[in-house]
Amino acid sequence: MQRFSAFALIRQALNGQKGWDRQWRDPEPKPAYDAIIVGGGAHGLGTAYYLAREHGIRNVAVLEKGWIGGGNTGRNTTIIRSNYLFDESAALYDHALKLWERMSQDLNYNVMFSQRGVLMLAHNVHDEQVFKRHVHSNRLNGVDNEWLSAAEAKAFCPPLNIAPGMRYPVLGAALQRRAGTARHDAVAWGYARAADALGVDIIQNCEVTGIDRDAAGKVTGVQTSRGAIRTNRLGIVAAGNTSVLMAMAGQRMPLESYPLQALVSEPVKPIVPCVIMSNTIHAYISQSDKGELVIGAGTDAYISYSQRGAMHISAHTLEAICELFPMFRRMRMLRNWGGIVDVTPDRSPIIAKTEVSGLYVNCGWGTGGFKATPGSAHLFAWTLAKDEPHRINAPFNLGRFQSGRLIDEAAAAAVAH
């Protein structure tokens, strides 16, 4: 792997930029692998990277039906935070946040991780009480989160309108300073490049169409659009398409897939210094380094695999944004798109072994799994390598839907992010 550094940049500049290698190979699938990951999103690519780096399992393929990062990874609004309510979730998301803090160095790839802070606005007494409860619970778990008065919130984020006459007055806000954003494509590419350098085959345009099992039910391989490939360790990391893949091994899942939308505006000079979320009016906004306002909308009401959402959903979000920031009323939107998110009944993910020997699943990240990418990948690689969950992902199993030990983060995940 050609390492990136200031020195390499200068040398290539003098060279007319002609000496750069391709960042990962484009291999033909081999007949068999020690482990196969289905889904070339950042969670899947990261899983392959950690399998190779931490567990020495390098004969690994990532199979992606389209192009890597073309699923929810490349469609998300990149909010990263770890201020979830319950102990299990705080441990999971903060594990990820700690890995984010050194990801660019680990991967030798600038993922533009920016800890600009996430501000969650309180508009009524209920919000205020809920956020304060979150702040206390987070701090007991060693996760930073603090309560700001309206004036303090305005000082942190000057474009905020805290006038009392607003339709949705700002009574205060919860702020996680370590939270922020990252460049989504770079995360997929950085993991792909680093995994490839360790020997992982990244195989694009390769759709998995079947899962092969022996008489005892054990996984023996997959059928794909590029032929059959053998393995006895199969990890499914397919976000909105998880139910479809798991059905290939006869498994029914506690999942529903919904379209979730986002929009970006025309680029403008820096105006939004942090991420601002409002659960009550269901809107959130940040500004990309290119200058676009990045706005997240809600999910459609019904399940769908259409990868686009209804217009009235994004219109509703824009109304909310204009109420909060009247100065954005004349901004024009440049693009909007949808991704298919897989939602569990308790809004917490599943990172687990399954009933089928050799079959593992990492799914249910719903509207908010980008923030968990390195943690999810790290823990799933552990689970695949050791055939047992890590302490942190042990609670995020499939059995909880039968035992009733749900991890109900519906409140923390109320707004799609």
Binding site: V244, M253, A301, Y302, Y305, P345, Q402
Partner: protein, 97 residues
């Protein structure tokens, strides 16, 4: 926005309706005799079909009545809507007639 045909009122815009999840999931007749597996299936596990999906809708801002629909979840085409209590129409293709 989708156009949905209420079996009682005819074609109306999507925002008049509320979605009610997968259809034809019956609650156990004898809850105490029902296994944990069956409860899990009833409460949490869903087909999440990529293709034809039978689902409940309610014309909440219209006649207020519940009905079922068969929709293709890839194209969002409604293949059929039918009254509660009627069997799922026997269709295999997803295109609107």
């Amino acid at each position: 926005m989708l156009l949905i045909t209420c079996p009682f009122c005819g074609q109306r815009p999507e925002i008049e309706f509320a979605y009610g999840g997968e259809a034809h999931i019956a609650r156990a007749a004898d809850p105490r005799a029902t296994s944990d597996e069956a409860w899990t299936e009833y409460l949490y596990v869903r087909g999440n079909a990529r293709g034809l999906h039978a689902e409940r809708w309610r014309h909440i801002r219209g006649c207020g009545r519940f009905f079922n629909a068969l929709r293709d979840t890839v194209t969002d085409h409604f293949v059929a809507t039918y009254k509660m209590g009627e069997a799922r129409p026997d269709r295999t293709e997803g295109k609107q007639p």
